[in-house]
């Protein structure tokens, strides 16, 4: 009986409308982690609210379409990428930022002084933010999903 449960059309419509902005905002916070407040953790948590919203509006039927294994693999992947990035700087030290000012990806050379904040800087920091974002997104989604799946069903339903 509970598998049939769906939230009202208002909730579902708002969920449809909010889905894209939530994900985009989360990605924005993750990608601008080295320039503005936020970063991997905050952005990942914002993206995970999308999963929470999805579960609220589509109930157990929606939960069935989410794969727990996928989230746990993504989580391991994010953490592994983070540590591997730290290892890549090992020719100097562990966690050495070998990509900053290199002229390649995220390696734009900027002059000293005030600037509007270029996205293409920061070396490995943005990449680590992305890894952390992936990890936090999948971990919090997993927690929300588990709590939703094992929560007691309401008697009034």
């Amino acid at each position: 009986m509970n598998n049939e449960y769906r939230a009202s059309v208002v909730v579902r419509t708002v969920a449809y409308i909010l889905a894209a902005p939530l994900i985009v905002f989360g990605l924005y916070v993750i990608l601008h982690g080295h320039l503005t407040p936020g970063g991997g953790f905050a952005g990942g948590a914002i993206m995970a609210t999308f999963i929470a919203l999805f579960l609220v509006s589509f109930g157990r039927k929606g939960a069935g379409s989410l794969h727990r294994n996928l989230f746990s693999v993504l989580e391991s992947l994010g953490l592994t990428v983070f540590v591997v990035l730290a290892f890549l700087g090992i020719s100097n030290t562990f966690f050495y930022n070998f990509m900053v000012n290199s002229g390649h990806l995220f390696g734009r050379v900027i002059s000293f002084g005030v600037n509007p904040g270029y996205l293409d800087t920061g070396g490995v920091i943005p990449l680590m933010n992305i890894a952390v974002g992936l990890e936090v997104f999948s971990a919090i989604s997993l927690i929300v999903l588990e709590m939703f799946t094992y929560s007691r069903e309401d008697k009034n339903d």
């Binding site: 391991s76 592994t80 540590v83 700087g89 090992i90 100097n92 030290t93 562990f94 966690f95 930022n97």
Partner: protein, 511 residues
């Protein structure tokens, strides 16, 4: 080789961390590959810590600045700006010990948890816990210490609940709740120090504190000390430790013992290296007080128990008391440590090593008894010596070692503590010896209950070879350290105590 030795402190944290994240993926492919991966990553880490230890014993303090252009560039602008890992003889010893225990635990767990589900997560959490303990021991920075302490708390609470019974969930919840209270204390203390000095690096705070010592530092020290005493399960707040040691699987109990010893190391680091140059003897007396209390209440409560692992948990509390007693006497003599105080401190550090060996052996025996009989209450057991003579020999070794009977290792370190504490205050020695005698009484009772009497009639399984092997390895080291204590003291105990009583060397490593 030089490359590995140069980066060993960072690798010692990162290798178990990386291994922990890869383990669940490998577990999907094959159990055998996963087990080989786990044991090899730990052996590799142990090898790294070993070469780091040799380097530190040769050359003195080694500092490693994470993310700097070169590892030795700790203070580019006159004060440290990065996370700094600082290794001296003391934390090299502690991390080597922790890794050895982790390896023994993993080998033991192969068979022990074979029949349970969620093995991937077990090994993954075990590696994460090891990485956390490595971080706690290598860090030279207060905030990193806090972060790794949290890693250790969360992962060990998850491991305590491994059996998924109501009691184990309760124990894990208690552990998590109490350790998060401790974490708040610690964070508050770190915040006070940060507010006062604007720094988080331990060595630099130790230098600044000489010039600006104030009441604020006393508050910070008491908050940090409380948090660490809570985490290592000294007496007034020992109930969570006993519960979690009782309900966790035996190998996890062993690792939990190791975590509380790393907590002791941090207490020593903060007491000796950071505050060592400014405190008076009161802090030492406080540690002695809690030590005596732990010895007494631990042993007295152990006498009453009939659940084997709960009993061992209380005796673990008592053993921590001896270490606090030795170290407290050493600390009360800071900053001018004379002969007997140094001896007491060395005895305390030596007892860390001996305690982890003895208690681990006894916990692993308790785990084996549970494995073969599925019973935890000593009243329901009896006569196991008929079928398992080698297990009873191992138990005798563990029991004599933990009660401080020669020729086993507990005797060597307890004698050092007694001899030196006698000069400090003879009454404390009497209390300590009394605790030791009561400990023997506890274990003689347990031995009689479990191993003696008519042959056991219930169903029994065989003890797998890998589990027996780990216990014999521990027994070998117990006997070795008991027969040749001077070798151990000369090679690594005395340098570790030297490292603690000379905070200026620790400060000099960073600046």
């Amino acid at each position: 080789m030089i490359f590995l030795a140069e980066h060993a402190p960072a690798f010692a944290i990162a290798v178990p961390l990386l291994a922990a994240f890869v383990t669940p993926v490998l577990g999907r492919i094959s159990e055998k590959i996963r087990n080989i991966w786990v044991i090899f990553s730990l052996l590799f880490t142990e090898f790294l810590v070993f070469i780091l230890g040799c380097k530190v014993l040769d050359e003195g303090v080694y500092t490693y600045a994470l993310g700097a252009v070169t590892p030795s560039l700790t203070s580019p602008v006159g004060f440290p700006v990065r996370i700094i890992l600082e290794t001296d003889a003391m934390n090299a010893l502690i991390s080597f010990m922790v890794l050895s225990i982790a390896i023994i635990t993993v080998v033991y767990s192969w068979k022990f948890i074979e029949k349970y589900e969620a093995q991937d997560r077990f090994y993954s959490l075990l590696l994460l816990l090891t990485a956390g303990m490595m971080g706690m021991s290598f860090t030279g920075d207060f905030f990193t210490m806090f972060v790794f302490l949290e890693v250790v708390s969360v992962s060990s609470a998850a491991l305590v609940a491994f059996f998924k019974k109501a009691e184990s969930f309760e124990a894990a919840f208690k552990y998590l709740a109490i350790s998060s209270i401790g974490s708040f204390f610690m964070l508050f203390g770190i915040g006070l120090l940060y507010g006062h000095y604007g720094l988080l690096n331990m060595a630099v705070i130790a230098k600044e504190i000489i010039l600006h010592y104030s009441f604020l530092d006393v508050v910070a020290l008491s908050l940090l000390g409380t948090a660490l005493l809570l985490k290592l399960g000294s007496v007034p707040i020992h109930m969570w430790k006993v519960d979690s040691l009782q309900e966790a699987p035996a190998p996890v109990s062993v690792v939990c013992i190791a975590t509380s010893l790393v907590g002791l190391y941090l207490l020593f680091r903060i007491g000796f290296s950071v505050f060592g140059l400014v405190i008076n003897s009161i802090l030492g007396w406080i540690l002695v007080f809690f030590g005596i209390l732990s010895i007494f209440i631990g042993v007295a409560m152990a006498l009453l128990q009939n659940n084997l692992k709960r009993l061992l948990g209380y005796s673990a509390v008592a053993e921590v008391g001896y270490i606090l007693l030795g170290a407290g006497v050493g600390l009360s003599a800071m900053p001018e440590v004379n002969g007997f105080a140094f001896e007491a401190l060395s005895g305390g550090i030596f007892h860390i090593v001996n305690d982890v060996l003895d208690i681990s052996l006894l916990f692993l025996i308790a785990g084996s008894i549970y494995y073969i009989t599925k019973k935890r209450n000593i009243d329901e057991l009896g006569g196991l010596a008929h079928d398992f003579p080698s297990l009873s020999v191992l138990f005798i070794i563990g029991m004599l070692a933990i009660s401080g009977i020669p020729p086993f290792n507990g005797f060597a370190s307890k004698l050092m503590i007694y001899e030196s504490v006698f000069y400090f205050n003879p009454l404390l020695v009497i209390l300590g010896v009394l605790g030791s005698i009561l400990m023997l009484a506890v274990f003689v009772k347990v031995f009689a209950c479990i191993f003696l009497g008519a042959p056991y009639e219930g169903e029994v399984e065989e003890v797998p070879g890998s589990m027996m092997f780990t216990m014999w390895v521990l027994a070998f080291f117990i006997l070795f350290l008991g027969l040749f204590p001077q070798v151990a003291i000369d090679i690594f105990i005395a340098p570790a105590a030297e490292a603690l009583v000379h905070p200026e060397v620790y400060i000099g490593g960073v600046l």
